[in-house]
Symmetry: C2
Subunit: 408 residues, 2 copies
């Protein structure tokens, strides 16, 4: 008999409990073990539930119960999740978490603790919600040299961008709609400014390249500045705008993680990932490219991933050594994005084709319906982003749009 | 130090060896172990290779070497692969295989052998090539009630269908092109008649529902009878034709596995899986739907999956109990497809709208360019397939096209 506890009875926590009880018999039969939920930690009271007797307000009840071998942390935020998770691991209890912030900020340390105490710290739910991505990368693709990864990692912003591109509604209107539907928080900053996607690309980068990538080391742009004019140019160019979390190895052996809106060509599989869905493309020498696609957030999708880890931890009580990375002293292994070669979409005002051609002789001009006089939009030839910056110095105050192309 | 052997130095075998030596240093560093290839079994000689000294013609050399703890079986075919794999497992050597025929025909028995001898029988490479699908289903999605699975599981037929739909070339021309490019064998029967996809849906069905599904129990149709007329009607209806391997649970608790061409609506993610790519959609209560997409065959993609299993077996010497299923005495758990409710595309000749309307009052009529007099094409309303058969009795000899819609 294996017993587990759930820390936090919010959206994901209640989903985890519900999905477990719904499929408990199937889970036990398939995994050939008795698994049961023993505690739910929450400071609030939840009377009247079929499992109200499982609640406790005291983490020590869980920590001191040797029968509990696995803990699902679904509280969110770094504190007190970090303290609770550390204590669990120190007592040899494996932890499954959906907490991307915790993994992005404390992952290396918690993975080390798990190893030291012969248990597991698992986080399939932290990235891509229900979509299997952590285990596939570190197990199924373990024989490959993974050269890059690029994904739509945040469903809220993808919903907003889909609305802007397909229905022609403004960013503000699309955000309001997302909030009305419950896809976006009342304070949408973590989503629309790219921080959520940033945490996820930190986790993927750390897992793929073996050194902890901290969020503050990642160049991160959100989607708040995007306009319907940019969307119109993206369409006319033959693509869409997506918020892409990406990481690639650069020629000098460093890595370049980034979160930014991108022009994505219709020919790319990522272009057709719409609404709140996530899609994550991984590139490697043995398999070329593989995409993982599904619901990247939400109560039951996230619960599905948390419980998958709980079951794995309960069944296989050995430490999964491959799901790990080292802490990193400094960010010298991270490349400067300004030194990367890119193609850019640029929208310039109060200018003309001749002036733009002089600065960008190889650029392709694109047009849109209702394009006002003096507005020029181009796709630049590939060159170092710092070189583009220099050229744009002459256009100071006249750059209204600037979005990198996704060229992987 | 862990040592492994490779059985067979054909396309996949040589890819497995090449990919391992290319990434050996990375593999060992990331997995924190020394892993090396000790033997390659083949009846042929391969002089002049950097690893020619590893070849042996005698399986007993491998069987009797206790240093070899993992064996990659990449020979294909049931015999002598089955005998070799059984012997390896009986001696406690874990096996990773790409051999879908072996798994589809002998899977339950080999999984039981592995359990009895405390080792693993793994087959990530048997389905979807490089695409992670076996481990994601039995680990990441373990908490879910998986209700259905539908996928494009054969790259050769998908290439042929893509050519027919996009370029308007006939089946024969598209097949010849696929053979010229090396996508199709000289004897293409296993691909175009659906047998390859059938083996894969047997493996997925067995894994998901826990009872071995044998290929002879699965209704299997290939693509050889498809015409450009059918392709034109699919387009006019708003979709494409794909060869789909699928399984779903029926209302009476049985399962319905099937391989058949399907009309797939453009709105489905599977419709945009083109050329030799595979896409596998899994449906479950916690996650709604998840798609796995990538190269489903080929030298290095298959090698990538084989080596992922080899690394997992070498690192974690415990039996992965969840990747298993029971043998089944009979096929009473498999539903009769004729009793399933379907919508069908039907193309009828020597008829008129009135006659067709009489038999199918709720059908939708579709048209194509150049549609000759007397040709009628419809999409039927959903009803039992056996009921459609009865109605078609009156159209005997006049049914030129009949393809199920993919309605999941």
């Amino acid at each position: 008999m294996s017993k587990f506890a759930v820390l936090g009875h919010g959206v994901v926590g209640s989903g985890t409990v519900e999905l477990f009880f719904k499929n408990k018999e199937k889970i036990c039969r398939r995994s050939e073990m008795d698994l049961d939920l023993k505690y739910i930690l929450d400071i609030r009271d939840f009377p009247g539930l079929p499992y109200s007797d499982l609640f406790t307000k005291d983490i020590n009840v869980i920590l001191n119960d040797d029968e509990v071998t696995v803990v699902a942390e679904v509280m969110g935020g770094v504190h007190p999740a970090y303290e609770f998770v550390s204590e669990c691991l120190k007592r040899g209890k494996s932890v499954a978490t959906s907490n991307k912030e915790l993994v992005a900020v404390k992952g290396a340390e918690l993975l080390r603790l798990a190893k030291e105490h012969s248990c597991n710290f698992m986080f399939e739910a932290s990235t891509g919600g229900a979509i299997p991505i952590i285990r596939p990368i570190h197990k199924c693709l373990a024989a490959n040299d993974i050269t890059a990864c690029a994904g739509i990692l945040n469903g809220t912003t993808n919903y907003i961008l889909t609305k802007m591109l397909s229905d022609g509604v403004s960013f503000d209107e699309a955000l309001a709609e997302a909030q009305r539907l419950g896809y976006a928080e009342r304070d949408p900053a973590a989503d629309v400014e790219g921080h959520d996607a940033c945490r996820k690309i930190c986790i993927l980068s750390s897992l793929i390249y073996g050194s902890h990538v901290y969020p503050e080391w990642v160049h991160c742009e959100g989607i708040t500045a995007l306009t319907l004019e940019d969307a119109a140019y993206a369409k006319s160019w033959g693509g869409v705008i997506k918020l892409i979390g990406s990481v690639k190895r650069t020629k000098d052996g460093r890595i370049l993680p980034m979160v930014a809106p991108r022009f994505v060509n219709k020919g790319s599989e990522l272009a057709s990932v719409e609404d709140v869905f996530n899609g994550i493309m991984v590139y490697g020498d043995g398999f070329e490219r593989i995409m993982f696609y599904g619901r990247g957030a939400g109560k039951l999708p996230t619960a599905s991933a948390v419980l998958g880890d709980v079951i794995d931890c309960a069944k296989h009580k050995i430490t999964i050594l491959s799901q790990t990375w080292e802490d990193s002293r400094d960010n010298s292994f991270i490349a400067d994005y300004k030194e990367d070669t890119v193609r850019l979409y640029l929208r310039l005002k109060d200018t003309d084709a001749d002036e733009v051609k002089k600065a960008f002789p190889n650029a392709a001009f694109i047009t849109r319906e209702g394009q006002p006089a003096g507005e020029i939009a181009i796709i630049t030839d590939s060159e170092k982003e710092s070189a583009v910056d220099e050229k744009l110095y002459d256009f100071k105050g006249r750059v209204c749009g600037r979005i990198r192309l996704l060229d992987i």
